[in-house]
């Protein structure tokens, strides 16, 4: 089976009904298919990784499980984080903060980009 580099691009805030969970489901399926999966949180999308402290299932808790699916290439937009006063330790899982240059390189290297 061919291996493609597939980037899931999360650019919207969570809590838009089922949309965030549906994006996450697609990401996990891609991981199961053993593709080169990465995910970038940009704009209000960075809020999807914010630890909400809630006990019920929310998107943040679900994203925490990414490493168990062997999805370790998790990126956040450094500028988007800074604009929102967030640091990587406020997030539910380890994420690499990318500069604009890093984001451009990441996108250019992909075969497929899946938007949320």
């Amino acid at each position: 089976m061919t291996t493609k580099r597939i980037l899931f691009l999360v650019a919207h805030a969570p809590n838009r009904g089922a949309l965030a969970f549906e994006m996450l489901d697609a990401l996990l399926v891609a991981a199961v298919f053993e593709q080169k999966v990465s995910v970038l949180f940009t704009g209000d999308g960075v809020y999807q990784l914010l630890d909400t402290g809630q006990q019920t299932r929310d998107v943040a808790r679900s994203y925490r499980a990414l490493p168990t699916y062997d999805v370790n290439d998790v990126y956040v937009d450094k500028a988007a984080m800074r604009q929102r006063g967030l640091t990587v330790d406020a997030l539910v899982l380890p994420a690499r903060a990318l500069t604009r240059h890093g984001i451009r390189s990441l996108i250019a290297a992909q075969d497929v980009v899946v938007p949320d």
């Binding site: 949309l19 549906e22 489901d25 697609a26």
Partner: protein
């Protein structure tokens, strides 16, 4: 070249079903192939056979069905997204004890794996957002 097309919106909140169909027609006219069309999020509503479109407005679901039948193109909708939005095949309707089934031919209900398979197999993957 093989194209995979994803459609995320339905006609109540988006132009994506219409834009994507025009694109699909041009793909075929340009001599390329469509590997699969995958309807996700609200896009699954295109497969709802109960929709009644006002006279004079284009019926995107019908337009897609006609295009797919004419050109042998695979139209797929995500099962999880479809269940959430009440688009059910006979099988799902029975499984969940619902009063009716409303999946419109030739749309097929499939798992998300078909979207990923399309991303893997096609040369180009294009998403039409809501």
């Amino acid at each position: 070249m093989k194209f995979a097309i994803a459609v995320h919106g339905d006609t109540t909140n988006s132009e994506s079903p219409h834009t994507a169909l025009r694109f699909a027609r041009a793909v075929v006219a340009n001599g390329h192939q469509i590997h699969r069309v995958f309807f996700y999020h609200a896009g699954v509503n295109l497969a709802d056979s109960l929709i009644v479109t006002p006279q004079g407005e284009p019926d995107a679901g019908d337009d897609w069905a006609r295009f797919a039948t004419e050109h042998g193109v695979e139209l797929t909708i995500c099962i999880a997204a479809a269940l959430r939005r009440g688009v059910l095949s006979d099988q799902e309707s029975q499984r969940y004890d619902r009063t009716a089934a409303n999946l419109k031919a030739p749309f097929q209900i499939v798992g998300l794996g078909q979207m990923i398979e399309a991303a893997i197999e096609a040369d180009r993957f294009v998403t039409f957002c809501a």
